[in-house]
Amino acid sequence: MIELTNVSKTYPNGARALVDVNLKIGKGEFVFLVGPSGAGKSTLIKLFYRDETPTRGQVQINGKNLVRMKEREVPYLRRSIGVVFQDFKLLPNKTVFENVAFALEVIGVSKNEVKTRTHATLELVGLANKENAFPHELSGGEQQRVCVARAVINNPALLVADEPTGNLDPETAWEIMDLLFSINKRGTTVIMGTHARAIVDKMQKRVIAIENGRVARDEEIGGYGYDT
């Protein structure tokens, strides 16, 4: 489903974030990206939803080449990829319902369909009773659920999450992990960058370790693997 060949990324300021990365990720996989801060995890994740393009090498998702892709094709790629952030990126002046519905409204989905799908998705993430709350009235875990709901409402084939539990306490973090896991079980490929050792060790999923922009380790069933 995803294939990176000889991917390098050097930022305009000279920072070498990725160096000659080769990766294959299959449909339906759950993959952890681990590694020290500054290793290049976020940069790698940004390549998947074409927030960044590599300076060298190719990125393919579902047969589409993201490097050669035209600017006007990018929106359609993004409709098939959900993105979850550490800081949730919710719109503060919109309610929970409006924040999630937003993802459908701006791609021209009809009003009725927006309504039914938003209700269903909020049900899925366990926020059916908070539809009319504003983000500041929610706990961190609940805000992250809204972010996940917005990411999956379009039934994406791929969900990428950059440290989705980074701002949450361990217990809430596990609730989010359960949510991501259930989404993965429905067939969505999930790629998650994280520092959460306990979670990685317990989940027994594929682990790709990045160090200094290179793939240092890639284990089918791995652990976090660092001593710190």
């Binding site: 990018v74 359609y76 990126k89 719109l91 701006v106 791609i107 021209g108």
Partner: protein, 296 residues
């Protein structure tokens, strides 16, 4: 683009203009000012060229004869000129008639006037020659000036030349002023749109993230610019229309000899032109700021 998208975009446009009402008003007003100047310049130029034309069409060549010409010779010259091609009419004011006319304006009798003037009639015989083609007045005047018995000719070419030079200058000054205001309008609209893009940058970021098309993201801002320009253009049309009406009424009652352009077609064209120019400024203004801000 679906109906839902259009509804969404219009709602966003309205929100966006309410967010910075003062800047919106300032943008509209600069558009208005620049277009009012443009509108009045165009109308002024239309009037100037109309005036030049009507001066030209009234052009007559005053042909003065040598002082020793006898009344018989005057008749001969008159019929000679009458027979020339390009001549519409010839009227004669003899030296005697000129003296009587002068006497009437001075209020004395003819004989006393001649005595006062030293015993001679100083007026020459004058033939007023009207050309059939206003374009050929100068050529006709040149021809007349070399006829035997003709002392000198005089015609209004000088005034027309001056008027045309003046309108040429005015055109340049008008263009410069309008250009400066147009640039100011475009800059203000682009600042306006830029500020709205900036205050909505989070929303835009998420829109792009969830796959809103570039045009979907851009339309509200483009429509905002177009709307500001449209309002400015419409206001300018109103002001120019009312102002010109009022002004031409004033001129027609006080300076009755001045021909004032009253051409409904021209007015419609100017009104439509001003509104379109306003919208063009709006589109350019928002286009400028969107180019910089909305690259993905």
């Amino acid at each position: 683009m679906t109906l839902n998208s259009i509804r969404y975009i219009l709602r966003e446009t309205a929100h966006s203009m309410k967010r910075n009402p003062w800047l919106s008003i300032a943008s509209v007003l600069t558009v208005t000012v620049s277009l009012v100047i443009l509108g009045f310049s165009v109308l002024f130029l239309a009037n100037a060229s109309n005036m030049a034309k009507s001066f030209e069409s009234q052009l007559e060549v005053a042909t003065f004869l040598k002082s020793n010409t006898t009344p018989e010779q005057v008749k001969v010259i008159q019929s000679q000129i009458q027979g020339m091609p390009g001549v519409a009419s010839v009227t004669v004011v003899t030296k005697a008639q000129a003296l009587i006319d002068f006497g009437k304006t001075m209020g004395g009798t003819q004989s006393s006037l001649v005595t006062d003037l030293g015993g001679t009639n100083p007026f020459p015989d004058k033939l007023t020659v009207k050309a059939s083609d206003p374009q050929k007045v100068k050529a006709l005047a040149d021809e007349l000036s070399v006829l035997p018995g003709v002392e000198k000719v005089r015609y209004g070419q000088g005034y027309v030349d001056k008027l045309l030079t003046f309108t040429r200058w005015l055109r340049w000054i008008g263009l410069t002023v309008v250009g400066a205001f147009a640039i100011a309008s475009i800059v203000l609209i682009s600042i306006n749109v830029k500020m709205n893009v900036f205050s909505r940058r989070r929303e835009i970021q998420i829109m792009k993230l969830v796959g809103a098309s570039n045009s979907f993201v851009r339309w509200p801002f483009l429509i905002e610019g177009l709307t500001l320009g449209f309002i400015g253009g419409a206001l300018a049309s109103g002001i120019v229309g009312t102002g010109y009406n009022w002004l031409s009424m004033y001129i027609q009652t006080t300076l009755t000899f001045l021909p004032v352009v009253q051409n409904t077609d021209l007015f419609r064209q100017i009104a439509a032109g001003l509104v379109l120019a306003g919208m063009a400024m709006g589109a350019i203004g928002s286009g400028l700021s969107l180019q910089k801000f909305l690259r993905s």
